[in-house]
Structures are given as C-alpha cells and as structure tokens.
C-alpha cells in the first residue's frame, strides 16, 4: 500500500493519538521519535518499526527516505524541535508534503516560513470554537459530533471514477435523497483545485476525478460511495 504510508515524527501528546487513529484506518505509519520514553511507548503500542534517532541530524533524516512516503507529519512535543525538523525536511526534500501542528500562534508563522505544506494551529481552532459555541451552541455541538465521532453522522469525501453514472451530470440534476446523504461541496478540477461549497449557488458539472464531500449516516455514506462507482444508478 504505497499510497497510504505516513512518516510520523513524534509520539508524544498528539503523535500517539494520531498514529493510533491512522493505523485503525489502514494506514501504515512509521514513527520517528527522539525521546527514549516515547519511543518505547510507541513500540509497546505496536509500532514495531519505530525509529529512535536524533532528528536534528540531516544524515539520519536522509536515511529514512522520506521521499517514499506520501506525507510527513511533524508533531514533536518540543515546538522548537518541530520547527527545526520542518525546516530540515523542507530543505532536504523540497517536494514532500509536510504537515505540522503548532502549539502557539508564533509557531504557526515560523512553521509556514520553514516550509510546512499545512499547519494546524491548536489555539486557532480552539479559539474559534469558543466563538462558535457562544454564537451557535447547538450547531457547534452537532458539527463536532459529525467530525469527531466514528459512528453516527459524518462527512466523507469520494472521488468520481471514470465509469461513474455521475460523470456528465450537474449537481442540480442529481437527486441525492434516495441515498440518505447530502452533498456539501466538491473540488471541481475544471475550476482549479479549490473547494467549493454547494451553497455557493453555482451549478457544477461533475467530471471524472472530481472530489465530492457528502454528509450523512456513516453506513449510508459507505453505500453511496460504492454506488457512485457504478455505471448505472440502482435507485
């Protein structure tokens, strides 16, 4: 499974949960840790091929062959080390997709400058949640349930394959109701790589390789993602 391998730096506060979540979803995760204790913990938790090394050494980083992984995730507990690591990885492997998390607003900027492809800012997300809770408590609680919980209602993205019956249709034409799911938005490859919400009011033409995001009960989402691979709609 070449497309699903992740190189995860850090098995501390965040790394541990991320690694376990990814493994559950069928990703192959290789853990790299500089802290002896965390490294041992990773091994105990079943990440047998975890590596214990000094992440500040370029040679050691090169030896890991990061270019073979789809994504490099930097979630070291020490934020200074995290920024340094992001910078090293970016300078050594310019093409790689680097995802880092930031524990403070100053770090976010530094991580971006260091070349992280995507930075997730812990405080930004949380502070926004407070605003959301104050403004729309019910919607926030529900939305969080959609994102956090593994069962019940959730979001799912699906890629439209070449043979799908959806190819050639417009978003307004498709009746999603029989499937029990709702279309939230899509990435229209024709219009660049930006995500467009369905509520933007533009009628999109669905093509092969477009990605759609739907919301619905998990089982219905699964069924729907299987359904759209077919040439003819069954319902």
């Amino acid at each position: 499974m070449f497309a699903k391998n992740i190189l995860l730096f850090g098995y501390g506060n965040h790394g541990k949960f991320i690694a376990q979540g990814l493994a559950k979803d069928g990703f192959s995760v290789k853990v790299v840790e500089s802290n002896q204790e965390y490294y041992r913990q990773a091994q105990e938790d079943g990440f047998q091929d975890a590596v214990h090394m000094d992440v500040t050494k370029d040679d050691a980083l090169k030896a890991l062959n990061p270019q073979d992984y789809v994504k490099l995730v930097c979630v070291m507990d020490d934020e200074h080390l995290n920024v340094f690591l992001t910078l090293s990885l970016h300078s050594l492997f310019n093409e790689s997709y680097i995802l880092s998390i930031s524990d403070s607003m100053h770090t976010t900027k530094k991580l971006k400058m260091a070349g992280a492809t995507k930075v997730i800012d812990l405080y930004e997300v949380s502070a926004n949640r407070i605003h959301n809770i104050l403004k729309r408590p019910v919607a926030t609680k529900l939305l969080e349930g959609f994102v956090l919980e593994r069962d019940g209602i959730g979001f799912k993205e699906m890629i439209i394959t070449e043979d799908s019956f959806l190819v050639g249709m417009t978003t307004d034409e498709i009746d999603f109701s029989p499937y029990g799911v709702l279309l939230v938005g899509m990435i229209d490859e024709e219009l660049g790589h930006a995500f467009v919400f369905i509520t933007a009011g533009i009628n999109h033409n669905l093509d092969c390789d477009d990605t759609i995001v739907c919301i619905g009960p998990r089982d219905k989402l699964e069924a729907f993602s299987e359904e759209i691979k077919k040439r003819e709609r069954s319902i």
Binding site: G21, V73, I130, L134, A139, L142, V184, A200
Partner: protein
C-alpha cells in the same frame, strides 16, 4: 394584645406577598446589581440637584409658588418615603416575634414578645443613628427653611448624594483605613492649636486689640498653623511672633504628613479600586463573559474576535499575566476564579453569565466549573479539557460545553491525512474562514415556520443546505420532506452568512 401581635407577626411571616415586596424594596434600595436601582438613584439625584439649585436661585430671585411647593412638599415627601422604606427593610420585626413564640412553645414558657420587640426596635434605632440615616432624616425637613440660617440644612440633601456616588464612598473607606494615623495627627493638631492659642491669649490679650477672648486666640492659631494666614489677627509682641514662627513650621510638617498618609492610603488601594470599578462596569450589562486565565488560548480568542467584545472580564491568579492582559488593552483583574467570593461578586441574579475556563490546568478548570455551578446553575460554563481521559469529570461538574484542543487537533491531523478534501471543508467551517457556515435557526413559539412541512420551505431559493432538525435534544438528519416543523425546533442549515440572514428575515416573525 400579645395574641394580636403574634397573629400579625405570623401573618406577615407567612405572607408570600409581603416577603416578596420587602425583598424587592430591599434589593431596589441596596443591591447595586439590581437593574432598576439606577432609575431610583437617578430620580433621587435629580430631586437633590433641583432642590439645591432652587436654594441657590432663591438667594437673588423670587421663585414661583409651585417651585417652592415642589421643594418643600414633593421632595420632602419622596425623601420621607425613602427614609421609611429604608428603616422598614433594615430588619424584620415579625421575625423576632415569631422566633420568640416558637422558643416559648418549645421551652413551654410564657410568651413575651415585648422584650424581643425591644431588641428589634433597638436595632432599628441603631440604624437611625448611623451617619447615612441621620443625613437622610435631616434632608427631609423643609421646616427649617423660613429661618435663613437654618436654610443651610438643605445642604444635607447634598450630603445625601454620598449614598449615590460610589467614588465618595470609596474615598471615605480609604480614609477610614488610615484612621489611626489621621487621629494621631488630629490629636497633635488639637494639642498644638490649643497650646499656641492659650499662649497667645496669655501673652497678648491686653496688648493686641484684635484678641478679645480665648476663641479669637484659638482661631488665630488654627489659621496660622494651616498656613492660610488671613491676617485679620496678627501677633504684636516678639513673644507672640516667636510662637507664630514655631506653629507655622509645625503646620508645614503636619500638612505634609497628612498628605502623605492620604496619598499612601490611596496608592495602596488604587489597584483594588480600579478592579472594583471594572467589576461594577461589567455587572451593569445584562449578559457578559468571564474569562478565567490569560494564556495562549485566551489571547487567541480575543485576537480572533470578529465583532468587538464589550461585556467581558478576564480573571487570572497570576499578577504577571494580568499585567500582560492590561498591556494588551483588555480589562483584567487579579482574582482567583476558583474562590466563591470572586464569582459571587458578579451579578449572578440578574445577568446572563458565561464563564470560559481556559487555564492550562484541568484541576483548576474543574474547580472553577464547580464553583460557578454551585453559585448558580444559570451560569453557563465552557471549559477547556486538556486530558481527554477526564472528560466525564467535567460533565459531572456540570460544564455546558467542553473544549478539547488536543482532541480536535488530533482529529484534524487525522482528517487532513485520510480525507484531505473533507478536511478543507471541515477546517473552513470550524475556523470560520470560509464563506460557508453551519448555523442554527431557532424556531420560537410564534415563528412563521411552525406547522409547515419541510417541502414547503424553500431552502434552495435562499441558497441554503438543510441538514436536519434538533428536536428535544435529539438530532434528526435530513428528515423526510413531509416532516412538520414544531415550536422550539432548531434547524441546522449550511450556507453563506447572507443566505442565512436572508432566510431569517424571510421566515422569522410572527404568524
């Protein structure tokens, strides 16, 4: 007679209306967080100001009779009502009588209400001799006015203002904290003035035509020691002049001493006074936020505010962080939110309070949550949870919303890897950076949507995506189009701000 008194007391004790009205009046007069108190205050202040204005105007101009009547009868009437009400709510006589009755029943002794009634009346009398009550009483009497000298008693009405101006109260409070120093100084002043007065009287009474008696001598001493020196009386002998020099020097020393005592008293209390002012200010609003802890999360929260926050206050245990918050331009006070007294200072009764527990420590956050909920269940608490394993404890403590930064971030990282497109959508919604929002439409009892079925509502026309209904705590995802909307439903919709606003203006409003 005893029986009559008892039945009256029992009737008053059990009457809910009596109790309610007494509590209402007491709250209105004494509780500064009562929203209506400010109207009472403004009325009284208006009466005082007009009354004093009339007094001044009258000196040179004749006033119409109705103005005089207003001043003498109306103002005095209002003030006497106020005086009586204050006396009434000061304590409860019926409580004394009924308690005595229950005790006598229990101990099987003779019921004697008069002795306890006396205690109650003595308490009321004690209230009557407090400076505030005396001023209130003197401010009532208009009878003084025909006598010109006694007209100055109207100025008691000015003194009445003391009750309504917080800053003077604080000034008095600060001064009374330095009672000991100031009393020592006063005693010293008295001693020097008397000594110098007697000395000048003895030395110059016969030689100085301006000094006729001891009162003149003491008056001269006080005018000299205060360095005012009118010059109407001045010493004529070398001995007298020597005494003048001595008391002038001691006067300068005393004035500087008094000034320094007062200044130091203020600088000691300055921060506290400032903080009290902030608390009072925020207590005036009907709904406000109490933010506990000024760390990264709080900073980010304030930085992100889209529309300026007005009604908030930051509490932090660390003086250093409070200083930082003040430097950043926020209203912060140095208080421990986990203490009962701290949260109890706020207008829990009349305002809608939301507490944000954003300190970095879970223990602290739980404690604050419990503290807030123990004061009033009405207080809404949004708490930050760092350790995911103790979520249940926060739920037991009664937190209304939980913030789990670590869990949210972990999920986001996970989603960013597994479903990058969905991540974009969710991240955009969560951080509010996109055009699309998920919002809620509250259906009140008289909302025009009540009773309508979903297919009758044109979500698509307003460019909204209808996601579901939250009804009685349960969420119905994408319900069938024949489902009818009920009162108190919350509709979950997704769309742009303008779409949501448009939808609200289109459908909101009464049937």
């Amino acid at each position: 007679m005893n029986q009559l008194l008892l039945s009256l007391a029992l009737y008053l004790r059990t009457s809910k209306r009596y109790k309610k009205s007494k509590n209402f009046v007491s709250d209105l007069l004494n509780n500064s967080s009562n929203p209506y108190k400010k109207y009472v205050d403004i009325t009284i202040i208006f009466l005082i100001v007009t009354s004093v204005f009339i007094l001044i105007y009258e000196v040179k101009h004749p006033v119409p009779e109705w103005v005089d009547n207003y001043d003498i009868y109306f103002v005095s009437f209002v003030f006497s009502i106020e005086y009586i009400l204050r006396l009434w709510v000061y304590n409860d006589l019926s409580e004394f009588v009924t308690e005595e009755y229950h005790e006598s029943q229990f101990l099987q002794r003779k019921f004697e209400p008069w002795s306890v009634l006396k205690i109650g009346l003595v308490e009321k009398l004690k209230y009557m001799v407090t400076p505030a009550a005396i001023i209130d009483l003197l401010a009532i009497f208009p009878a003084y006015r025909p006598l010109r000298v006694l007209r100055i008693f109207v100025l008691f009405r000015v003194l009445k203002l003391l009750r309504y101006t917080k800053s003077i109260n604080q000034f008095v409070e600060v001064i009374s904290n330095k009672r000991f120093e100031l009393l020592t100084l006063l005693f010293l002043l008295f001693f020097i003035v008397m000594t110098a007065g007697i000395a000048i009287y003895v030395l110059e009474e016969r030689l100085n035509p301006n000094i006729e008696d001891l009162f003149d001598a003491v008056y001269w001493a006080l005018i000299t020691i205060s360095t005012v020196g009118y010059g109407d009386i001045s010493p004529v002998t070398p001995e007298g002049r020597t005494i003048s020099m001595l008391i002038i020097v001691s006067g300068i020393a005393m004035i500087s001493f008094a000034t320094s005592v007062i200044v130091s008293a203020f600088s000691e209390r300055l921060i506290e006074l400032k903080e009290n002012r902030i608390v009072e200010q925020v207590n005036k609003s009907r709904s406000f936020l109490i933010v506990c802890g000024y760390g990264q999360m709080t900073k980010m929260f304030f930085r992100q505010k889209k529309d300026a926050l007005h009604n908030y206050i930051i509490l932090d245990k660390s003086l250093e962080r409070v200083e930082t918050a003040r430097k950043d331009g926020y209203d912060a006070i140095h208080e421990d939110a986990s203490r009962f007294e701290t949260l109890n200072k706020f207008n829990v009764e009349h305002a809608k309070i939301t507490i944000l527990c954003l300190t970095a420590s879970d223990v602290e956050n739980i404690y604050i949550t419990l503290n807030a909920k123990s004061i009033s269940r009405k207080i809404k608490v949004i708490a930050r949870v760092n350790d995911i394993s103790i979520i249940s404890k926060f739920e037991y403590a009664g937190a209304d919303h939980l913030l789990m930064p670590n869990r949210v971030v972990n999920t986001m990282v996970h989603t960013a890897i597994t479903q990058p497109t969905m991540y974009k959508a969710v991240h955009a919604i969560l951080t509010g950076k996109s055009l699309a929002h998920i919002d809620e439409v509250h259906i009140h009892e008289f909302h025009s949507l009540v009773g309508k079925s979903i297919k009758e509502i044109d979500f698509k026309g307003s460019k909204l995506l209808f996601i579901g209904i939250q009804r009685e705590g349960k969420f119905m995802f994408n319900p069938s189009t024949s489902e009818h909307i009920k009162s108190y439903d919350i509709l979950l919709v997704m769309g742009r701000h303008i779409s949501i606003n448009y939808f609200n203006t289109l459908y909101a409003g009464d049937i």
